[in-house]
């Protein structure tokens, strides 16, 4: 890594060229991965990469260059390459350039580093044993643990210098079960901003048995009749619906390009008064948190919807400059080789005051959704379709049968208005996921407590 004074040299070089904004993003990332499959340890891996991305924005156009394993000279050379792309008609900037070290909003906490691959072996073998021991219908167990430690330093044209170490740990587990005729898969996933303490917080037994329970229940699952049902979204993974069907439509680049259903809706009622939607990058330990965004600004918490009223979009600094959106520190990128865009962090429904038991007992026939799969959303209309990975039928206030081949079809705005219950903070859970946009995958959190939607179309039989 370079440190503040050396990066300042690069900043001074970039500052010679006309610009609205520039930034330098340096990353030194190391990864470790260990997997188990068919009872055997697989694909042990560890490695590291070091590189930098430099961006210069002029007349609303982004000029971006990437340097692998850079020296200071390489960075200065790339700065000049980008500056020279502006052409001869560009008048050089003559302002002075000074840096200032930024303090992140998210305070660092201690975390446990994974130093040797074999430290995860016991955990993976335990998953395999718990899963196979739990039910003879389990035929295959796959699990993987990864640790990524990304050390970043950033400098931008405002003089902000920021450095941060970002450790992330992730566990994923897939269980295949069969009844001789059908084979079904169950999943469990967990991730956090932190280290191997994740393995203590989420035991191997729980990781395995959650996935086993899902795969076994799917063997007995029925396909519900298509139609409108009241739906309860369980805490955690169900929150992906708000990320996909509402969150993306609030990203400033989609608003500026006139391809979002949320355009011109600031200040309008877009949801039930029980709905407060937050996107936060500063929740300690959560998968989508960081002390800084990826443009050199301290991270923030942004209230998107307050009591049903749309309060804010999510903007990076570029969209702040081009589209005049309030800057909310939502500029994120997958790695040094990528341009940042407005992206979500941890997006969740703020807890309310309703009780899960009351929601359940109010439903004559409905569906409890424990886990949603991927979905797709038309940003321009808000229409969505989501596949439901784990769902149960509710009949007369009781959970009865597991369901399969279920999809949820609706509209983000309609769904926000149809939310009729939000349970309390004890139920809030944020789940780890990966969000794709512009061919970049970044870690994000999605969550909510129990949320009841009065009606939503469920595709089934």
């Amino acid at each position: 890594m370079f440190g503040e004074s050396l990066l300042e040299e690069v900043g001074k070089e970039l500052n010679k060229f006309p610009h609205e904004f520039f930034d330098v993003y340096v990353e030194d990332r190391s990864d470790m991965t260990l997997s188990i499959g068919d009872g055997k340890l697989e694909k042990p891996s560890m490695g590291s990469v070091f590189g930098a991305g430099i961006r210069l924005i002029h007349n609303g156009i982004t000029y971006f260059g990437v340097v692998d394993d850079p020296s200071l000279d390489d960075l200065i050379s790339m700065a000049n390459t980008l500056g020279n792309r502006l052409g001869n008609n560009s008048h050089p900037s003559n302002t002075t350039f000074l840096t200032m070290k930024m303090q992140g909003t998210l305070k660092g906490t201690s975390w446990s580093k994974w130093n040797k691959l074999d430290e995860a072996e016991t955990y993976l073998r335990a998953i395999d044993e718990y899963a196979r021991g739990k039910n003879p219908q389990v035929i295959q167990v796959s699990a993987r643990i990864t640790q990524t430690i990304s050390k970043v330093e950033m400098l931008n044209s405002l003089g902000n210098y920021a450095e941060e170490e970002r450790p992330r740990a992730h566990i994923s587990c897939s269980i295949y079960s069969t009844d001789g005729e059908n084979t079904e898969v169950g999943y469990s996933v967990n991730g956090k901003l932190g280290g191997l303490e994740l393995l203590e917080e989420t035991s191997a037994e729980k990781t395995a048995l959650d996935a086993v329970a899902m795969s076994i229940s799917k063997l007995k699952a029925i396909v519900p009749a298509s139609g409108e049902y009241p739906v309860i979204l369980a805490p955690g993974p169900g929150g992906v619906i708000f990320h996909e069907a509402v969150g993306h439509s609030l990203e400033a680049d989609f608003i500026r390009k006139h391809v979002s259903v949320m355009e011109d809706k600031i200040g309008q009622v877009i949801g039930n008064s029980k709905v407060t939607l937050i996107d936060s990058g500063i929740i300690p330990g959560e998968w989508g948190s960081n002390a800084f965004d990826d443009e050199g600004f301290p991270n923030q918490e942004t209230i998107l919807v307050k009591d049903g009223v749309l309060i804010s979009y999510m903007s990076d600094y570029t969209e702040h400059l081009i589209g005049n959106f309030p800057h909310s520190s939502n500029g994120r990128r997958e790695n040094y080789g990528c341009i940042p865009y407005p992206r979500m962090r941890n997006t969740y429904i703020e807890p309310g005051h309703d009780q899960y038991e009351d929601m359940l007992s109010s439903i004559e026939k409905g569906i409890l959704v424990n886990m949603l799969g991927g979905g797709q959303v038309d940003q321009a209309t808000g229409d969505f379709i989501f596949d439901v990975i784990d769902a149960w039928l509710i009949e007369n206030g009781k959970i009865t049968f597991p369901l399969k081949e279920v999809s949820m079809i609706g509209n983000g705005l309609t769904t926000l208005k149809d939310i009729v219950g939000v349970s309390s903070k004890e139920d809030l859970k944020i789940s780890a996921g990966l969000c794709g946009k512009e061919n970049q995958l970044i870690p994000v959190g999605c969550g909510e407590p129990y949320v009841m939607i009065s009606k939503i179309f469920v595709g089934g039989d």
């Binding site: 042990p44 560890m46 982004t62 074999d118 379709i385």
Partner: protein
């Protein structure tokens, strides 16, 4: 970069291994257009290089990667790979000793800004005021050396162009089309734009309608997208471990006997050749399915060693940072003995899929996925939007009833080369 001294070092320690080095440089320009005003959005240039090192100790394989090319860093990576190898399961892996060069050269060059200007002109002439277009020129080369003496160098250059118009009616609709070419000077930009517009208009202002007994045809990108989820079912690892629909079905007729699926190492519609995989194995042209019968799974080096099979040349590395995955290069769908699509009274042409990544269980075949498209009923073209397609994909692939007479090639993990295929047995609900 010459890695031979590091490979010798691995061999000197009585270990086996390989070093894969890749160097990719790319220039990309993107334009956007809002309210009829095209503008440059971003200009990117990247040069990314690095190495992946595998060390095999007593049959146990470990992996490491890095992009620092000084001696100390590479030796550290070898040490990491060696440490990782302590944990792997012993396999009887025999590294190939293939030697070869593979060069795919451009047939012409073009200024990517000019390509984008031409695209803008055509869209604006058709009164399309909202669109995005990206043009890239990418050069990539990779080098593989191993302790068995393999030395393979591959280099490739190509241009790719992607366009996405937003078309208006009562509402709006967007869709995309793209081209990958070695000959950008002769790229048919008009065709590129028209195809994108056809796809965008196809489902504009469509409604979700129930269509009983109507055959379904997936447009080429959607067919390729579907197969990016299904192809893994032919992976030897999944077949042998009971994680595939094809487990225990070798030599059985499982799909339509009009359908054959073959892995290829080149095809006239695919730019470049794939003679060697990224593990140094010659890519074998083999049938996975021949006239409906499942005849062979595919195996990378490690999975072939695990199950006592011959590797088929599917070891792919999508970056130097990743270990080889078993993914075919070209998957060719061949249809014999069926009428053309024109013989059908009507069919639903699907031009957009939603929720495929979790709405499809490739093991059981059950699927329930969202789709948009157009009902082609003689002269009538009826836009369709927000329908759910459901059924069992393996049953459906037993009911292939017609196919187009020309093939298209789409990159989707693997290159999928196929005619458009009409399928019966899919439930379409609004």
């Amino acid at each position: 970069m010459d890695f031979s001294k590091y490979v010798s070092l691995i061999a000197k320690n009585n270990e086996a291994g390989d070093i894969f080095y890749s160097d990719v440089s790319m220039k990309s320009v993107r334009i956007g257009c809002v309210e009829g005003q095209p503008h440059l959005e971003d200009v990117s240039s990247k040069e990314v290089s690095g190495y992946g090192i595998r060390v095999i100790k007593d049959g146990r394989m470990g992996f490491s990667f890095g992009n620092k090319t000084d001696d100390e860093s590479i030796l550290q990576s070898i040490e990491y790979a060696s440490q990782a190898a302590e944990l792997g399961e012993p396999l009887n892996i025999s590294l190939p000793s293939t030697q070869g060069n593979e060069v795919t050269e451009l047939k012409s060059e073009s200024d990517i800004n000019e390509i984008l200007d031409r695209i803008s002109e055509i869209y604006l002439s058709k009164r399309i005021t909202k669109f995005e277009a990206t043009a890239e020129r990418e050069s990539s080369k990779w080098l593989l050396t191993n302790t068995s003496g393999a030395h393979i160098m591959s280099s490739e250059e190509a241009y790719s162009v992607t366009v996405m118009p937003v078309v208006s009616g009562i509402g709006e609709n967007a869709n995309y089309w793209f081209a990958v070419t070695l000959d950008p000077e002769n790229l048919d930009i008009n065709e590129l734009v028209l195809r994108s517009l056809d796809r965008a208009y196809s489902s504009l202002d469509g409604k979700g309608i129930n269509l009983k007994g109507i055959p379904v045809v997936f447009d080429a990108p959607e067919w390729a997208e579907l197969w990016s989820f299904l192809l893994d079912s032919f992976s030897g690892k999944n077949v042998e471990r009971g994680k595939s629909f094809f487990s225990g079905k070798l030599s059985q007729r499982v799909l339509s006997d009009h359908l054959s699926i073959k892995l290829e190492n080149n095809h006239p519609k695919v730019p470049g050749n794939f003679l060697y995989d990224n593990e140094g194995v010659n890519v074998q042209p083999v049938f996975l399915v021949e006239e409906g019968a499942f005849v062979q799974a595919y195996y990378g080096l490690a999975s072939a060693a695990e199950f006592g099979k011959v590797p088929t040349g599917v070891g792919r590395r999508f970056s130097f940072e990743t270990q080889p995955l078993d993914v075919p290069f070209i998957c060719h769908f061949q249809i014999e003995g069926l009428p053309t699509l024109e013989s059908l009274d009507k069919y639903l042409l699907v031009t957009s899929l939603k929720g495929i990544h979790s709405g499809l269980n490739a093991v059981s075949g059950a699927f329930s996925i969202g789709a948009d498209g157009v009902l082609l009923d003689g002269e009538k073209h009826i836009p369709v939007s927000g329908v759910t397609l459901s059924g069992n994909i393996w049953d459906v692939l037993n009911q292939v009833i017609a196919a187009s007479d020309k093939e298209e090639a789409i990159p989707s993990g693997s290159w999928v080369v196929s005619p458009l295929v009409a399928l019966d047995g899919i439930t379409i609900s609004g």
